[in-house]
Symmetry: C2
Subunit: 470 residues, 2 copies
Amino acid sequence: MLNSVTDALRAELTSKLPAAAFRELTDAYLREPRGRYQGSGGLLVAPDCTEDVATVVRACADARVGIVPYGGGTGLVGGQIAESGPVPVILSLERMTRIRATYPAENVLVAEAGVILSNVQDAAEAEGRVFPLSLASEGSARIGGNLSTNAGGVNVLRYGNARDLCLGVEAVLPDGSVLHGLSRLKKDNTGYDMRHLLIGAEGSLGIITAASLKLFPKPAGEGAALMVVEGPEAALGLLALAGDLLGHQVSAFELINHMGLDFLAEVGPEVRAPFADTPEWMVLIDVGCVAGVEPSQALETLFEAAAERGLVTDGVIAQSGAQRDAFWAIRESIPEANKRIGSVSSHDISVPVGRIPEFITRAGAALATLDDFRINCFGHVGDGNLHYNVFPVRGKSRDDYDHQRHAVKRIVHDVVAQMEGSISAEHGVGRLKVADLNRYGDPTKLAAMRAIKAALDPLGIMNPGAVVTA
Amino acid sequence: MLNSVTDALRAELTSKLPAAAFRELTDAYLREPRGRYQGSGGLLVAPDCTEDVATVVRACADARVGIVPYGGGTGLVGGQIAESGPVPVILSLERMTRIRATYPAENVLVAEAGVILSNVQDAAEAEGRVFPLSLASEGSARIGGNLSTNAGGVNVLRYGNARDLCLGVEAVLPDGSVLHGLSRLKKDNTGYDMRHLLIGAEGSLGIITAASLKLFPKPAGEGAALMVVEGPEAALGLLALAGDLLGHQVSAFELINHMGLDFLAEVGPEVRAPFADTPEWMVLIDVGCVAGVEPSQALETLFEAAAERGLVTDGVIAQSGAQRDAFWAIRESIPEANKRIGSVSSHDISVPVGRIPEFITRAGAALATLDDFRINCFGHVGDGNLHYNVFPVRGKSRDDYDHQRHAVKRIVHDVVAQMEGSISAEHGVGRLKVADLNRYGDPTKLAAMRAIKAALDPLGIMNPGAVVTA
């Protein structure tokens, strides 16, 4: 059983850490972006070095006080917010913002956990390299949080998830010991992979304080196209064809449903697709090409081959960087339009790529038995990852469906589970999906997770209530 | 404390498993390829399905008898051989050889643990795809062992290690429960990544029984070149240039020292480099190109750019598949030549890629203080992974250095440790490097490994003596 923060713990931390480590606990630290979680309090501590993080963890372990690690606060599953229970220490990484080293010839960069993702991207860019992790909140999310949640984003198809972009981590474990794992090695088979255990553990096994990250050469040229497809099945055919013709030059492959475009027209932001009629389905294809391959030519070749096979009915290839950005603005504005409409329930799910059409059909049919909805289904179809979001029909609001929210989520997640999918593709478990994980997770995996949690965090102080429950 | 196999355990297994699961324990199961480990005995069991593997594990847990998992038997660190201690069950995966499913459109293949690596490659090829894990023992190594040891090989530069080629595993954990993790998902953030914990655990946390593996589109064209470089520093310059000019089309980048060519001339096999004089250093570059890029033209462009920068002094670009094979035959014959010469001590090490030249200088200087040796240093320089092998001078044999073997290994590993490197880059820890891991490993990592081992395998039955010791 954990204790709330005591005066004694406050005094101990005050005596051991510099004054700058203590900041005012504003409401920003207690709110989740969509306002679905509200923390009740905590002692905010922001160490600026690994040793001070270790000091905090040791003191909390001694006092049996929970620690909620806090990065950029952009998580969507409540992993950064403890709503109830004993008052915790909120350990923010916001002052650990150093790029410790860059090794451009090795394509490696070592960043502290508090570096904002876009600053990592910029540091890579300054060395003529790319750090390809890219997602909507990159201007405020911090790399430690990105790693702790194994963030996804738009370039997973080509470069993998956050875990695939990390060579090693430094972390403070629940007993306050420091794991020195900032490896720059591409190959290291000396025992259990602690990096991959901490990545995706959402702070429940320790606090990542720094990471060595993989950089990549910049593509020689980049381009994008919007192609209209009959439906998800044709989109998959186009995806396979793109793989055959362009190989790993395909960076992103995003499915967009007319509902997203309708929402944009209805509530903004003001962006529109470059087609006379709103297409039922379209895909945004982004490519980064090697020298000798001209991006718009490569996309033209793809389009022609796809048209021959009846996979596409219309398409526009970006003729400039500005047009490419305009295509991306459509995709990236959809979440904001969704927010303005107000979803009944949103689902960050994945299924095997080949089963996406079946999923869309089955989930839609299952929901139709409950009520009428508008469904905006879009996302990283190249990764099998859809944001399958369920909205009120016109004239109704989110609140009108309060009584059905739980049933909607259950229906969607049941279909996902029946189809060998994941109820959390890229956002993580946090506190939002603990019950879902317990419901749908493999019992052997859950038992192993609990055993590992108990072994590494026997007092249960690390992000209590997140991911794993006894 | 573990028990030896008893008649009661034999009887129980005989009653629960089909007769075909019991095979004669020939010496092949008790010998490591280089003859450095010799097992003393065991009960050989070869189940042909996951449930039977679970039955064996449960029976062994009840009887507190150790289990040594056995794949293709090609491991080089004694992970598959228990030399001493209570008589174990040797659990061979050789009968679990089904390709359970292929999903070519998804680039996924599901194979049982006993499938021989080259058969996985062939199954991918049959679908017009590539499974890129490639290593010398691919004709006898089994995929379960490749994953358990996180095998490396020649294509890591482009495609990553074995763990990067795996989407999910099915495994029997030490209590006999089955982890159902054969995911085909590219994104799944539902809790701790058990896949990555089991991969590289060398059977000490459970037995991988099947895996879903990533396939890749075939490159549109392939090619290879041998380029002569002044030394390791120039090789790194060439590597960086290749990345800049060819991007991820570079599949392999292997460094070859004249000593390897001298050994080939001295003891065979009869292959030779296509240069009039034996180059001091050369690199073998292999490329797999996208459509629109002609491999030999791309290599020509690279060679010209490298020559302009003074990075290469000579070079030959393969003009045919046969010539490409001939280049690879040089690289792949070196281990055989090494074996014929007989090393004093061999080291599978890695350092940060940029520090390779410094490593070669420092290790050579440190060894020179001990005695005269011939050093054959070659390998996957693109991954920072060298096979740094120390040989007798002409006229002496391996046995003449018996008294120095330990000192040689210590000197090399000390330099590796001082340079942030790994004492086991791709072969694993097994039983050979347990003491080295305890000596050089991060104490926090070692403590966490022991805690995880105790949590998941409290009886210590899984591959006792390998990787982790109390």
